[in-house]
Symmetry: C2
Subunit: 255 residues, 2 copies
DNA sequence: GCGCATCAGTCTTGTATAAGAATTCTCCTA
DNA sequence: TAGGAGAATTCTTATACAAGACTGATGCGC
């Protein structure tokens, strides 16, 4: 079986993965890498059905149980969804679940707040040194999306998103963009956001934010810096957001 | 094997678990419940070694593989730690890892901020209706821990923690309390915090917070409401914290 | 005799595999 | 149109072997 395994790993390499297997990497990890490669390459599009555990195992020269272990971990990471009796599918980021996963603002009663879109400007420009350093592959040019978002009609959110131009060709021409950017990223550019690191502070609104939201400059607002990572763990978006949290709260869970 | 399984579940019931198994619950979930029961009951204390996969399986009438599946999930939940060639151990909440897991304040360079303790008062009183409704088992009396914490000598954090008196007998007499409360909870009261839900807002400091931290009343501070849950998923602590985030940020990860 | 390295043994978890059960959907039939 | 057989899928359980880690005995040099 080991020879077949090596063959399976070899196909994974052909699909784009060629590091990290020097010392007999476990088979199931090689399978994980193969599946991720196929998603990244577009061979498996969001919503597509994966081969069954048995077929995937046969194809890569491993047993059904090993393929299963790989699929279980992919589901834990949120990359695929599985349904008994039906099959395994590449996770689809819909406007609904994208909001539920990454938009954390809650109403006073704890329910999810539903944001609207009041203003939007999309521009292309050179990346700053800081942006190039934080984004993967140090892009030279970026798209900047500046938005004012509303909740129940009130202008409460001001946010700037920066993405590499090379990964999002023609983004600026697509304006106006839909409310849920991450669903657009996946559907139009095949980039699935699966993880985000955030840095949160309470600050007094600066002049730019205050005028955008129509508030006084000294008002406390929540300042959130986000780095968003795709399925291949590349940092593909920087986002700086300001929230007015007088009647809403940012809900998170620590585990 | 199914009859033996039922027997295993029966022993789990004797250990304290007697709901949620009406319709042929999977064996490995019954094993998970049994292990959790033993930890909650104090039969397995933090740091104690669990039976090996083989022994645990034999004891409960399931195979090593099934016991293994249960132990894997317990490790994912952070309830136990496993080391190849050594064994499985009930997770120990040390002051260090408790801070790393639940104290999210970061220095400007992204490293973990180390808090100190400047002031502390511990009192016992009747629970408010709101507190009784949020805490598990609607306790009549609570302990309240009010603290001012420092970072690099600066008074930057003001926090009030409320815990049920019945679960923490004699807590008030233990003052002064150690810096890491959750380590104390586990070591002195056998209550392991494994999860917390937080609600974050940016507000202007109120009079109480401002005087405690020595800042002006209008200064923006981060207001964090936390509900902390133990291994049995009971809400055992309410905490209201105020952070001065001029030079520090609250770091979280969304996945 | 004392100290230290080495090595075998044993206990543990990690990996791989396989067989049968449970779930879901489709399609045919009455 | 309702119901049931069948096929496809994931889910559960079980077993065998590999790999890592600690223990203690053994032997050698000093």
């Amino acid at each position: 079986m080991r020879s077949d395994l090596v063959h399976g790993v070899a196909s994974a390499m052909e699909a784009g993965l060629d590091q990290a297997n020097l010392m007999t990497e476990p088979l199931y990890k090689a399978v994980i890498g193969t599946v991720i490669d196929r998603i990244v390459s577009g061979e498996l599009v969001p919503g597509a059905m994966l081969p069954s555990e048995y077929d995937l195992g046969a194809e890569l020269g491993v047993s059904q149980g090993t393929a299963r272990k790989a699929l279980e971990e992919l589901e834990r990471r949120g990359i695929i969804k599985r349904r008994q009796g039906v099959g395994s599918f590449v996770a689809v980021r819909t406007p609904e679940n994208a909001l539920f996963q990454f938009f954390r603002l809650r109403n006073p009663d704890g329910t999810q707040a539903i944001p609207g879109l009041a203003e939007e400007t999309v521009t292309s420009r050179k990346a700053t040194a800081s942006e190039a350093g934080q984004l993967s592959d140090a892009p030279e040019r970026v798209h900047e999306i500046v938005r004012v978002r509303t909740i129940d009609g009130a202008r409460l959110i001001y946010e700037k998103s920066v993405v590499p131009a090379v990964l999002f060709p023609g983004l600026a021409e697509r304006a106006p963009l839909p409310n849920a950017l991450y669903a657009l990223y996946q559907q139009a550019f095949r980039i699935a956001i699966v993880r985000a690191d955030e840095s949160i502070r309470a600050v007094a609104a600066d002049q730019e934010t205050a005028s955008a939201l129509g508030i006084v400059e000294t008002r406390p607002v929540m300042r959130v810096e986000r780095k968003a990572f795709d399925i291949a763990d590349r940092c593909v978006e920087l986002r700086l957001s300001f929230y007015v949290t007088d009647h809403h709260a940012y809900g998170i869970s620590l585990a």
